[in-house]
């Protein structure tokens, strides 16, 4: 997997880093900075020079994402990056989806959470392979960690892979994992204005699932307004309303998944 991976810095990365930095070096040299700047104006002798970089800050993540996308493409896999706030019902949607599809399709799941393997355990209880990635202090999954997860998970050709991202409507929007689509899940127990409060995520997603619709009779949630906000942020977004708990509306989602998986089998010239 690691054709692009200089992997010494890989997994332990975030841990080691913090230890070295945090206490010792705190801002002890603040004045130095200004001094240096002043001194270096010595005529003709300044060693300073300009270097053009012109590089995307996320270039490295994007390289890993491209590598993941190539891997998925070669295997005709459908890979979805599921994003939402914590508590939107992502894991329940997944377990209900898997229960309905696992006899027909090969499915695996990568679970991202800051801590614990609880979600991966819930997925494994349905009988499909799941791998938990704990991001520790991190707020999102990145393409590098997903690439390594694939080495362990070994998903089958023409399979469906769900990547359940960390519950967070902000950070995961910027990090491409190589997926075919970001799917954003919003539950009706949240506010209908979430799409405009967190526009980046709804802008980055191709499909929005409005979940927990069985609770609508008990809430003041305005579905029409919510859908309008989502389309205002992203005119191309498609929206499905469903209740993973009662199964209402699940049919549309299952058909969308099968159709998208079928599309991955096409060999374009």
């Amino acid at each position: 997997m690691c054709g692009v991976c200089g992997c010494g810095e890989g997994h332990s990365h975030s841990h080691d880093h913090d230890h070295e930095h945090s206490h010792d070096h705190d801002h002890h040299d603040h004045d130095h900075h200004d001094h240096d700047a002043a001194h270096s104006h010595a005529p003709g002798l300044s060693p300073k020079r300009m270097v053009q970089i012109e590089q995307d800050i996320l270039a490295k993540n994007n390289r890993y994402a491209a590598e993941n996308r190539r891997y998925f493409g070669e295997r005709g896999m459908l890979v979805l990056n599921l994003v939402s706030s914590p508590g939107s019902g992502k894991t329940t949607l997944l377990t209900e989806t898997i229960a309905r599809l696992k006899d027909d399709l090969d499915i695996s799941v990568i679970e991202g959470d800051q801590q614990t393997a609880r979600d991966a355990e819930r997925i494994r209880a349905t009988g499909v392979p799941a791998l938990q990635i704990n991001t520790g202090k991190g707020c999102h999954l990145d393409a590098h960690r997903v690439g390594h997860a694939l080495e362990t998970l070994q998903p089958k050709d023409h399979s469906l892979l769900f990547i359940e991202n960390v519950g967070n409507l902000v950070c995961p929007s910027a990090f491409d994992l190589g997926e075919a689509h970001k799917v954003v899940i919003l539950s009706v127990t949240e506010g209908e204005d979430k799409p405009i409060k967190y526009p980046d995520m709804f802008h980055a997603a191709d499909l929005m699932i409005l979940n927990k619709t069985d609770l609508l009779p008990y809430l003041d949630f305005d579905s029409e307004q919510c859908i309008q906000y989502a389309k205002q942020v992203n005119p191309r977004i498609k929206i499905l309303s469903l209740s993973a708990k009662t199964g209402e509306g699940m049919d549309g989602w299952l058909r969308w998944l099968k159709a998208e998986l079928e599309l991955q089998r096409i060999d374009y010239a």
Binding site: H21, K48, V51, I53, I57, N61
Partner: protein, 113 residues
């Protein structure tokens, strides 16, 4: 807090380029940050100072070039300026807008020695 990860990515680029471009110290970093890039500039500055401590960019100055948001309005058939992703076209009120600039995050250039 993904500004912290962004700064770690920036530092990695600075360290990689140090070999290729033969410098040992970074004095100033110019970044182009789009208004629609989901980056909080204050958080980025804070994270940068923390992340570069003890590195070749210790105490480096961060200069941010802010790039305004721009989108193509399909009904109007022209570029319009937008501040947010949910903005409507200032001319026709449509939300049929395609962002075409202002979502970038780039390291533009460095002052090194």
């Amino acid at each position: 807090m993904h500004e912290m990860s962004l700064c770690e990515s920036i530092l990695q680029v600075l360290e990689q380029q140090a070999k290729a471009q033969q410098y040992s110290k970074v004095k100033t970093v110019w970044l182009e940050i789009g208004a629609l890039s989901n980056v909080e500039i204050d958080a980025l500055r804070f994270s940068f100072d923390v992340v570069v401590q003890g590195s070749i960019a210790n105490h480096a100055q961060l200069e941010i070039i802010e790039i305004p948001g721009q989108a193509w309005c399909m009904p109007c058939g022209r570029d319009v300026v937008v501040q947010q992703l949910y903005d409507l076209c200032p001319h026709c009120g449509s939300h049929q807008l395609q962002v075409n600039s202002g979502d970038q995050m780039r390291i533009k250039e460095l002052e090194v020695e």
